[in-house]
Amino acid sequence: MGTVQKEVQSLINSGYEHGFVTQIESDTLPVGLDEDVIRHISAKKQEPEWMLERRLKAYRHWLGMTGPNWAHLNIPAIDYQAISYYSAPKKKGDGPKSLDEVDPELLDTYNKLGIPLEEQKALAGVAVDAVFDSVSVATTFRQSLADAGVIFCSMSEAVREYPELIQQYLGKIVPHTDNYFAALNAAVFSDGTFVYIPAGVRCPMELSTYFRINEAKTGQFERTLIIAEQGSSVSYLEGCTAPMRDENQLHAAVVELIAMDDAKIKYSTVQNWYPGDAQGRGGIYNFVTKRGECRGDRSHISWTQVETGSAITWKYPSCILRGNDSVGEFYSVAVTKGRQQADTGTKMIHLGRNSKSTIVSKGISAGQAQNTYRGLVRISQRAENARNHTQCDSLLLGDQCSAHTYPYIEVRHPNADVEHEATTSKISEDQLFYCRQRGLAEEEAVSMIVNGFCKEVFKELPMEFAVEAQKLLNLTLEGAVG
């Protein structure tokens, strides 16, 4: 490789800081998917028989399904027999009971990612569940949370320890029949996070899960379930990264939220999966189903997402507003550059009276990327006085990228109040000249304008993460203009 080429290469890669691979011995299933693989995963997790039955049922259903083809995405054929469905770092016994037992190599990985798992070093007030490939390797602050009555543990553990809650709620918001990737996830999911907030409890700290894909040729299929009982509240954040590899890797997660009367769940995502290189080689396929049900009256679910990574993103965090006076919110910043593609948005299903939803979507497209907002607002017959406000803005950097907006609005009640606003803009030469004449470098100018564009969404993130998100955005857009 010539020097110039090398420099160009390092410039392109400079945007992705988390592309390293952890050298750790792992226990990885051979590639391929059949009922034996599912039995094997279930056995590894020492699951009860009913869980295995559910998995097999989902798998059999999945076999008869085809992948979605309606999105504004060019998804190459995925060979599901070329993926390994389970990979875990090798360990002694059946999982770490305390942090002292976690492999130092893993602790080091999370340190490098800026997520120290040692509680004394951790960000004050944030508890972390660290998911590495297919398993949860550590969950911090469990004791302090338990004192408040909050359950915060890995999904594998929840299946064993809290079977009644899992049987009652898992797959109720996103059933395995919901869509192709949800069915696949229901069959092969390996870990994830379970959160239970008892009635009246305000969760004393931010909860978060950090997802890391490490092993090659594996997929990550995690499952998250958050239950907020009457009058409780919780703020939860997930972050995701993966090494740089030439091949594509699949991440097909399912997240379910349930909020009872007067409960509030705030779910924030900073997604920074490896996006692939400038030619579009490699990167994560991020096919995720996220849905929350505002089951109780006056319940409130808020989704905030900052999506900067992944080769392809297919994701629509949604709210079913069943309770009267319930509130659903969706705040999104989706950035695509290079050859990234994103088709993302939300669904707000209004069933309860006086239910209210807000959608703020900010799409930023650079390079040759494609960025699509797709959203559904449905006001049902009994949703009297339902209100929705949607604001959907696209910003284009350069002249080879594109932005698309597909809003679907279905109103079945005469006094619904539904508003949709959309804008598309470009950073103009005049704006750049203006900023540079005032002393800002071109990249500073772009980042200032982009941050201004995203401000409404960033202010919804927990404070520490808003700063992170802003930094990430600046890093992502480095060299994206000009």
């Binding site: 704006q431 004449q437 470098a441």
Partner: protein, 250 residues
């Protein structure tokens, strides 16, 4: 401070400047007047580094260095400031944030410490008072929903904060009523000092009643065809440009 020698420039192959000469020393205010299409704005843009102009001949020396070799932002760091004829809007960017980023990037480039929030706000308040820019406009997004006069006052506020060594005002008076013009002129006059120089590009003599220039130049067909003192501006106001152009051609 600034020496422009035999400057020729084209836009899309079309000649706009045809051998322009100008000497600006520290402490001087130069007014450049001339009919539409004479190259006044082109000169302002070339000095600030705007793209889209090709310099085909001649040189511009600023503080003993080749100005044309510098990037747009490097010129700003060296104290070149252009008050724009049409200031653009920056949606989503808070005016205060923009002012701070601007001031601090110039300070950083000069190896000075960034201003802390408190002293920055103090300084902005003081300068905003000078150009009578209401507080609420500092909190709004840059130029968004500003009237024509407010945009121009915002330009002068930026100039007052950056204290440029060479300020170029490109038709800052256009679209201003008398009151706004007086306010703008106050801001401009506050910056006059033996260290600072200014080039004031204008169509009309009006502004020059408030900002009294040391020299007045007439630009026509891409070169300076006549220079004089303030009385030249009055003469132009009275008689138009025709006679100067004819005399120059003769």
């Amino acid at each position: 401070m600034l020496t422009i020698t035999d400057l020729h420039a084209t836009v899309d192959g079309k000649p706009i400047l045809n051998g322009l000469n100008l000497q600006v020393n520290a402490g001087e205010v130069h007014a450049i007047m001339g009919p539409n299409g004479s190259g006044k704005s082109t000169l302002a843009h070339i000095l600030s580094g705007r793209e889209g102009y090709q310099v085909t001949q001649g040189s511009v020396v600023y503080k003993d260095a080749d100005l044309l070799a510098l990037d747009i932002e490097a010129r700003a760091h060296q104290g070149v400031f252009l008050a724009m004829q049409y200031p653009v809007e920056l949606p989503g960017v808070n005016n205060m944030t923009f002012l701070r980023e601007s001031v601090n990037s110039v300070r950083r480039a000069r190896g000075e410490d960034e201003l802390d929030a408190v002293s920055f706000i103090q300084r902005v308040r003081e300068k905003a008072e000078l150009v009578e820019l209401p507080d609420k406009l500092l909190k709004r997004n840059v130029n968004s929903g500003f009237s024509g006069g407010e945009k121009k006052r915002n330009e002068i506020l930026q100039m007052a904060l950056l204290e440029p060594t060479l300020a170029i005002l490109d038709e800052t008076d256009s679209g201003l009523d008398i009151d706004a013009m007086r306010v703008v002129a106050n801001g401009v006059n506050a910056l006059r000092s033996p260290e600072h120089a200014m080039i004031v590009v204008t169509h009309y003599q009006r502004l020059l009643d408030y900002v009294v220039p040391d020299f007045v130049h007439v630009l026509a067909n891409g070169r300076i065809i006549r220079s004089g003192d303030k009385s030249l501006a009055h003469e132009l106001e009275e008689k138009g440009y025709g006679w100067v152009i004819e005399e120059a051609a003769a």
